[in-house]
């Protein structure tokens, strides 16, 4: 018998708008030493499935309508609250998505780590503080924290994202669970860190023989780590099977759609750039921020050098990809070009005019010609303005439309970005993430700009939506003859969309070149490492890639 057997699980949510079947008739099983990946887009019910097993859902509104979940013969859905607490502490552990918010910022990581040992629900297994400390240090070492003795007393903010996720993994493992549930454990991490964390999970699983349920929307990651795959959509299982059969022999349309949506390969559009006519010239740009941290106060350097001497040209008509990991300064560079972040040194020239010399009033006509698309479509729209107001604001403000022509122009804009005109009275919260990003794109192209800086415009979106938005962007670039700086941490997306790529690390551009040339022959070691770390949505290739690392 398998370690965990879930049979016909049904979880419903009672909402104001009626009953929502979040999980509807889902069955699966996981064995010790096996990895089951649950794949699906947001809202597919993949997280709800796992949280319902651990009684982590808020009830109400959640109601478990039926089914069984036998963990080692015991039904998780009907067991008592104290027993569930015991199981959660001992046998089943969870790693959450965001390592930044999953740790208590006021307690040292060591203290958080030994908590389950010294306050163990099972009285007989309570350990002394000293013993627990030794055990915790041992584990920190095992998950790859360097100098664990010294790091034991550090607080979460002193760790980077990847290190925090390692701490979270150590925390999950401290009671030697038999089942580990990983809810998008690497989604918030950079690609090179992601590779390390995945490797770590895999290694730990093999040495400890735990069962792993791996929730993810990233098929590349799944291809490398899973033995079995469950594809979910709208609360139901669309397809289940071993990894190879899902990836190579899918029988289901939805699975095929997911696989097809992965951005792969080179850009299909022709490069329209005019090499001799740079639209934007950036020379030796430096953007420093004051550093208020402890290190700076105790006589260290006083600035964080977000952008540290960057020179680049954006040619008229091209899509320039800007790649880098978090903290590389790529977003700050984008905002500095638009004069949204104050630059410390250097110059930005737009179409022959030096932007740094202009005062805020004088920049207004230039703002019309350069726009930005932001990452988070939930935060980038004013929640109290309707679509109509959002789209009409730039037009009216810059005098591009009057009260007579405004309706027509908004209609045109909505049409451009693929939204129905009838939706213009709606507020942002009534739209899905992809639709919101369309609104944000509509706002950016409203003033008919020449330059658009897109800062991770598809990172917050599901893979099928991501593909649609990328196509929309490409379409608009071509139709409106736009020049674009496309910032992303996702290398596959950048390859799919850009003519030219720049790689940024620690505030400087370390490599640049035509996309395909750079992909085929990266010069810098850092670029090579980045490219190697991209997971491939193909199990055989992915395994070969992992083995070659």
């Amino acid at each position: 018998m398998a370690l965990l057997e879930v049979n016909r699980l049904k979880v419903y949510f009672q909402t104001r708008n009626g009953l929502v079947k979040a999980v509807d008739d889902v069955s699966f099983s996981v064995d010790a030493g096996e990895t089951l990946a649950i794949v699906g887009e947001s809202g597919s019910g993949k997280s709800v499935t796992c949280y319902s097993l651990l009684d982590l859902l808020p009830k109400p509104p959640a109601v478990i309508e039926g089914g069984t979940a036998l963990f080692d013969g015991e039904d998780l859905l009907t067991c008592s609250t104290p027993r569930m607490r015991q199981l959660r502490g001992n046998d089943i552990a969870v790693i959450f998505q965001d390592p930044m918010t999953s740790l208590n910022p006021f307690i040292s990581i060591g203290e958080q780590l030994i908590e389950p040992l010294i306050y163990h629900p099972d009285k007989t297994r309570i350990q002394g503080r000293k013993q627990a400390r030794l055990r915790a240090i041992e584990l920190l070492d095992e998950v790859g924290i360097i100098d664990p003795v010294a790091r034991f007393d550090c607080y979460p903010h002193e760790f980077s994202g990847g290190m925090r996720q390692r701490v979270m993994i150590a925390m999950a493992l401290i009671n030697e669970p038999r089942l580990l549930i990983c809810d998008e454990p690497t989604t918030a991490l950079d690609v090179t860190i992601q590779a390390q964390i995945l490797e770590l999970i895999k290694k730990l699983q093999q040495t400890r023989d735990v069962a792993v349920i791996f929730i993810s929307h990233d098929l590349g990651v799944v291809a490398g780590i899973a033995d079995k795959v469950l594809v979910m959509c709208d609360g139901t299982i669309r397809e289940a099977g071993d990894t190879e059969s899902i990836f190579y022999n899918s029988q289901n349309d939805y699975t095929k759609k997911l696989l097809a949506a992965i951005p792969e390969g080179a850009k299909v559009l022709t490069n329209r750039s005019e090499p001799d006519k740079p639209l934007v010239e950036v020379r030796d740009l430096k953007t420093y921020f004051s550093d208020y941290s402890k290190a700076a106060a105790s006589g260290g350097k006083k600035y964080i050098k977000a952008v540290d001497g960057v020179s680049l040209d954006i040619r008229r008509g091209e899509i320039l990809g800007l790649v880098g990991e978090s903290g590389s300064g790529k977003s700050t560079l984008g905002r500095s070009i638009l004069q949204l972040a104050p630059t410390s040194f250097g110059t930005v020239t737009f179409d022959g005019t030096l932007l740094d010399d202009l005062n805020p009033k004088q920049t207004v006509p230039w703002r019309r010609r350069m726009q930005m698309i932001f990452q988070d479509p939930y935060a980038s729209l004013n929640p109290r303005m309707t679509v109509y107001q959002t789209l009409s604001e730039p037009l009216l403000y810059h005098g591009l439309a009057d009260s007579k022509s405004i309706d027509q122009q908004v209609r045109q804009l909505m049409d451009d970005v693929g939204l129905a005109y009838g939706q213009m009275r709606k507020y942002p919260h009534e739209f899905s993430g992809g639709q919101r990003q369309r609104i944000a794109i509509g706002r950016a192209i409203a003033t008919k700009p020449e330059l658009i800086i897109a800062d991770e415009p598809v990172s917050a979106l599901d893979v099928t939506i991501q593909a649609q938005i990328l196509d929309l962007i490409l379409d608009l670039v071509e139709r409106h003859n736009l020049t674009m700086l496309f910032i992303s941490h996702d290398l596959s997306v950048v390859r799919y969309i850009s003519d030219r790529v720049m790689v940024m690390n620690k505030g400087v551009i370390i490599e640049s070149g035509d996309t395909e040339t750079l992909w085929a022959n990266p010069q810098q070691e850092y670029t090579q490492r980045l490219l190697k770390a991209i997971p491939l949505a193909d199990p055989r290739l992915e395994r070969r890639r992992i083995a070659s690392l």
Binding site: W366, M370, S380
Partner: protein
Amino acid sequence: MAANAPTSTQVSAIPEQGTSLWQDAWIKLRKNRLALYGLAILVLLCLVSLATPWIAPYGYEEQNLGLGATAPSLQHWLGTDIFGRDMLTRIMYGGRVSLAVGFIATAVALVIGVLWGAIAGFTGGRVDALMMRIVDILYALPFMIFIVLLMVIFGRNIFLLFFAIGAVEWLTMARIVRSQVMSLRKQEFVEAAHSLGLSQWTIIRRHIIPNTLGPVIVYTTLTIPSVMLLEAFLSFLGLGIQPPQSSWGLLINYGVETMEEYPWLLIFPGIALSLTLFALNFLGDGLRDALDPRTSKD
């Protein structure tokens, strides 16, 4: 949610105009019965107050010492006070003062507080530091001394009273708004507004202030009653309005003294004040929901 369907009353052939936040809020408020009752009561109270000089059954200083304090009767519906003055009349006149103080002083606090807080929070840096230190200093200044000074310099004047109370109450409002704005100005939609080239003032007006409305409305509905009580306190000390004029706060204060012998002197002004507070709270709650587009329209 049938968000696509046109709202029940207005099906038009012309493309729907983007309604403003306030129009939408009104549509939603009309569906909130409690809030409507609250609004109706407030409107009624205001109308009665405005018309008081013409509809009051007696004069507010008409004494009848021979009568003294009497319980409610047909001649005096709400009874009379120890000087034989008609309570209904005095409550009606008192309402004029209390409502005026409540609304005008709160409006003063609201306007100054929201603008001050929004500008400080949005600008940040030195301007913010300077503006908030001014708030701190005013906070630290003993309120009574401030009012006494004003009274001494400008003489006793009801409009000065409005101003003085408003000038004190805006401090907390400014702080609340500032903290809201500080988190708002880092949001991407504000940055998007910057990149559209909107002026600072336009951004504050269109993107910042509407998003602070929730807490502002709640705090406003809390401020109005506290302002009314503050007026009573000042009047009690002889700094506000003087007998024979009345206000609800003053009536309640005198009512408390004679509570055991003549309970109606406390009960009726008490009811008038409570009714106003209830109405305000229901209306405030309804407004907050109505102004938040995230609450459903249906």
